[in-house]
Symmetry: D2
Subunit: 421 residues, 4 copies
Amino acid sequence: MQTQTLERLESNVRTYSRSFPVVFTQAKNARLTDEDGREYIDFLAGAGTLNYGHNNPHLKQALLDYLESDGIVHGLDFWTAAKRDYLETLEALILKPRGLEYKVHLPGPTGTNAVEAAIRLARVATGRHTIVSFTNGFHGVTMGALAATGNRKFREATGGIPLQGSAFMPYDGYLGKDVDSLDYFEKLLGDNSSGLDLPAAVIVETVQGEGGINVAGLEWLKRLEGICRDNDMLLIVDDIQAGCGRTGKFFSFEHAGITPDIVTNSKSLSGFGLPFAHVLMRPELDKWKPGQYNGTFRGFNLAFATAAAAMRQYWRDDTFERDVQRKGRVVEDRFKKIAAWINERGTPASERGRGLMRGIDVGSGELADKITAKAFEKGLVIETSGQASEVVKCLCPLTIPDEDLLQGLDILEDSVKEVVA
Amino acid sequence: MQTQTLERLESNVRTYSRSFPVVFTQAKNARLTDEDGREYIDFLAGAGTLNYGHNNPHLKQALLDYLESDGIVHGLDFWTAAKRDYLETLEALILKPRGLEYKVHLPGPTGTNAVEAAIRLARVATGRHTIVSFTNGFHGVTMGALAATGNRKFREATGGIPLQGSAFMPYDGYLGKDVDSLDYFEKLLGDNSSGLDLPAAVIVETVQGEGGINVAGLEWLKRLEGICRDNDMLLIVDDIQAGCGRTGKFFSFEHAGITPDIVTNSKSLSGFGLPFAHVLMRPELDKWKPGQYNGTFRGFNLAFATAAAAMRQYWRDDTFERDVQRKGRVVEDRFKKIAAWINERGTPASERGRGLMRGIDVGSGELADKITAKAFEKGLVIETSGQASEVVKCLCPLTIPDEDLLQGLDILEDSVKEVVA
Amino acid sequence: MQTQTLERLESNVRTYSRSFPVVFTQAKNARLTDEDGREYIDFLAGAGTLNYGHNNPHLKQALLDYLESDGIVHGLDFWTAAKRDYLETLEALILKPRGLEYKVHLPGPTGTNAVEAAIRLARVATGRHTIVSFTNGFHGVTMGALAATGNRKFREATGGIPLQGSAFMPYDGYLGKDVDSLDYFEKLLGDNSSGLDLPAAVIVETVQGEGGINVAGLEWLKRLEGICRDNDMLLIVDDIQAGCGRTGKFFSFEHAGITPDIVTNSKSLSGFGLPFAHVLMRPELDKWKPGQYNGTFRGFNLAFATAAAAMRQYWRDDTFERDVQRKGRVVEDRFKKIAAWINERGTPASERGRGLMRGIDVGSGELADKITAKAFEKGLVIETSGQASEVVKCLCPLTIPDEDLLQGLDILEDSVKEVVA
Amino acid sequence: MQTQTLERLESNVRTYSRSFPVVFTQAKNARLTDEDGREYIDFLAGAGTLNYGHNNPHLKQALLDYLESDGIVHGLDFWTAAKRDYLETLEALILKPRGLEYKVHLPGPTGTNAVEAAIRLARVATGRHTIVSFTNGFHGVTMGALAATGNRKFREATGGIPLQGSAFMPYDGYLGKDVDSLDYFEKLLGDNSSGLDLPAAVIVETVQGEGGINVAGLEWLKRLEGICRDNDMLLIVDDIQAGCGRTGKFFSFEHAGITPDIVTNSKSLSGFGLPFAHVLMRPELDKWKPGQYNGTFRGFNLAFATAAAAMRQYWRDDTFERDVQRKGRVVEDRFKKIAAWINERGTPASERGRGLMRGIDVGSGELADKITAKAFEKGLVIETSGQASEVVKCLCPLTIPDEDLLQGLDILEDSVKEVVA
């Protein structure tokens, strides 16, 4: 594999090619192939972008059909037949069955863009500035979204511009198991000189992906919704990583029975790895004036085609989500077993997650890195997350065949045993 | 055409569907077709995103081949064969022949993301904050890029958060024909109490697309480069709209013989309307640490495939750019004639532009809107730009057949005559 | 008393004249006289500015002597004999006996100015932005200081500009009696994605005056100092209200045995109610360049004269501070008794404070206001503080005669009994 | 003279003691005396703070009387007889005769505090953010005021926090003699994508003191007022240095016949060098809520006493202002002569100013420093201003005896001749 030109021409900012220093050429569902023909099982799946696997045949067919018909590929925010089909399908298969009524904003096709749009709308709609985010939250790296992102690696790379407009609260469990971290938030809200200005909105991930597979309890989410209602703050669920079925429901917040005012989706929304994002908002919040938020690639038509196909294929009934839940339990069980094994060797470790968004916290980034490096040697692509990269996380395709899932889990278990032993 | 669901479900923010309230279904090179089968000549071309036309057959074939091979569609910033081919082709066909040496940063696949990355890099590399932008400049709407964007429509939609880190200078010609606006900039730089903090960088479009097809003189650009060198500021050329051949050269700054420190490209970079962007930087400026700027869709592999195909098809020699220049003169001549005709009727009007990025300033947005509305009735999609939407602009595909170009110009001329008469 | 011109000409922003709507004409130690000749005992004392009483005869004599000699009244930051005497006296009577070595910055003569200078120095010295402040902290209302002030009344009056550069932590006791609030701070510091950028400094009041007479425990302060050292953050003690003997020591932080990197003093620093402030800093932190922070009234010479006289009169030995401590116990005992009495009537109330900075928390601003209004009727000037104005606070002159102190306490007790009964 | 303790204990930030490294002890009208008994003529006068001279006997008597009566020295914003007298005298002797109707805000007793309050009020009253300031403007160094101050020395000392909420326009004459710099401002205002957000207010000095004795033309000021009215922006005149008679009228804007919406005064407002400031505002702009802007030393009662005495002594009729104008012409004539003499030696030099606020621009800070250093040797205290300290400026007491004025001018002329020769 020739990598010199890549090393010479690509910016130092590159990151995954450091963990996985091979040149990939092909991929199918949960398997990647490199230029030497070696196959890997993929437990990363585009960090949650490939919920339906690489080159999903149903979506691929929809894409090829669209291309062959010379459908509109790029049309700014033109009305197109593909956009109409996308919106109608979203309404019919996703929103209505869940009792949700939202309008759809199609910003630039990335998660950070959706977050910027959501935050800005919340400010415009409420006339207030502050967006409450949570410890270990990740919402993107453009300046507006970065202000709500906790990670110092990104925050320190602004070249010295302080990030403004956000305040961080402790996420569920941050203050220990016996403390409801919302007590602190509520105290600050009710205190006229707490230093917390009355917020426009709260932005929350129900499960924090980049932050370390931290799982918000369902009661905690329900209480958070109540606090938002009581204090006239909007509730934004950033469902970019946890959405589109990852946790076993289309929207991750369905588990908690809450109704956000604003929702952001991206990553697996197109289903095929195509850049795509939308913002859902309660209709009465749609305070945008025409053209007030724009972007060249807003409403990517190829993504409309694949996204609509994905909804038709996987979300007509609950077959798919039940299957995801079943696989989630498989991973959960194995991860618990692995964590227990590590614990027995004197290293504290624990499993956590929801659906197929799961991790093993092994306590240190050093150990987690050793495990994932060993797994890669053995043919498994798997990454870490968390503030110190201390969590080995599984974000395999939801469509992964059971044999691949089990093989991947076996590799991970073997890797742990070799590294920890 | 059924548009009710679109009107009901899409946010008020939608804009082009107000000027062109039809549902488009197909497109080929410079022609769009709506659901009723009506054809339109496209002088908008994705606001400069479709320099090679809709569904360009060469690029389409490359895309289909890639899809059929089950190539990697999404891989975060994995090394892939497609990425390597893109970087090598860019170096061989674009950079080397022009004597340019750059490293490539692949941020999220949108222009605003490239601008955010470029600005941040400039700050990190210089340790200073201020980015100098120009009157009527447009660089995107995420918070970091928006600070450098002049348009109040966007700036006022932040929900009250002031934009920080930029200072605006008068663009070439802004102070009148006889004043070199850089005199003012240079005076502020040399004055210790001018209120202008020493800038990290200057960001400039050589031709301002959204700002009204304002054309910077080549001497002015050369002088600007000199001022940057003299004051240790980086020169960023935002070539998102004017690049990729639009002005008759691959990079719009080639006309001026300048070498920016940082370049942003997007829009027509993929060639096929796929979301894609890169930042080029002098190698010694590459101060990024691994992973310090990320994004799920950075380095979109389908776009690597089409972008490389576009370079091979159009940029192996100067045939294409000479053809663009020729068509540019055709538009220029006709626009001058139309402007003269309007002038004769007592309404001040003038032509301006470079290559196939051209406009007629008709003095008021009201008049420009009437003209473009009339043109749409007659089958031409054309839009306005400028601070008051007073410029009717032509951004037709560079690949437009001569007959379509002439027909489009005829429609425009007829529309002007009907409206102004 | 004629108040119409005052009402007509003075801005609505006026506040104390609403609680005490009389025209005062004279004052002596702890007694105020209004234009009708009515006398009041003063438990407000300029919100801690008149620790040595109104028109203290020792300081008054020093002031008259200085004026009669035609000493320099205003000299920008000229060297004057008065400044030299001030600095030498400060060193000899205050710093050296306490084992402190500081350089002295004389900014504009107000507390907020001292805080702005202190914060800025911390940023310059560390190269970091964030200043950690605490819930219910008050540090001034100019924009730099306001960012570290918790109170929404002031924060919301910026006309929409978000305050930047600070982060708020829970003050001692904020999370309940059994929780050490520094656990939370330390967790955020040690977490790379907590959303807390590494701070330049911590700014803290050892007793929060405006915030409600909240008293930081001595162990908590000691631990805070340790956290600062461990994390390379500067410790700024804002001793503007609690300093100059108010808590029974010259510096309020002496009780905890800590050594701040930077100290701000103002309010009672001149001793006579003259505008005056200084910033003390460890010598190696003095990174200021000549003239980099200025202000017309920096180093007010009349204040040098009275401040030096105050140090000579009250701080040559420990007689004064022991007397303050004694009086503090008198107030403490009475306040406890009053609080207990209120408690017995079913309204939760409690006493808190240190030295002669003491309050009774009566649970609601409404009740506290009734008590202070009643006390004013009876001839006692006393105010509330706290986020909901729920704390009746005593900041009487430290020099108050015992008979005035007891009479004031009697009035307060009577007022409470009339109001609560 | 012993200066070691001063050098050791005072922060490096000290500045005037570097130009004038002596210890001053006494002062009377326009004369300073150092510890060795040497006398100096004072052309600095507290940078415009001592318009009525050092230890003015009329004001001194008022101060002594007040002190002897044990009047209120410090009372937060209590109503006092002294405050009432101040407000009534201001109305009777200053506002009414000039046809002005203003309410008075008494913020903290410094210029920067008054500017912070003025700016904030403008934002609150208009609901907009941007404050337009001018090149070389100086308005103070606390963070809110600093944003409107042009000087990099101060702006760079924020420790990296970008200043926000202001935009700088070219002051009168900045673009050359033949260009009305307001053309540029007006063009930006009328351009929807100029990058200038619609401003809340304009803040302007009619003569820029720190900026280099730059004098705004009366027509320019009149036009500026018109632009403010036309664009619904508030006009703030910062009259801190140029007010209180310095230009030959009480308010410097009287010359132009304009009526600002908001006025800031400080420096010579107390008349005796006591810290003092107020903000005047049109009554309908008084949007402050009670206590929304506070400060311990707001409304300094000793300053009320001296300020009222100063108004009674100097502003009952036009005798004083005519005398100032006469002296202004004396300085103007001599400065023109000196400038001409320098010009003849081949160094470009020019005189400028209004009333007794005058300077000679000698083209370089190096030369200006030599001149002022030489003058100090000869017994004249005089300072420079301007972006490169290139202007030797005269801000002598308005009450300076003619013989002192002439002697000072002689010393300056001699110094110039020695240095330039």
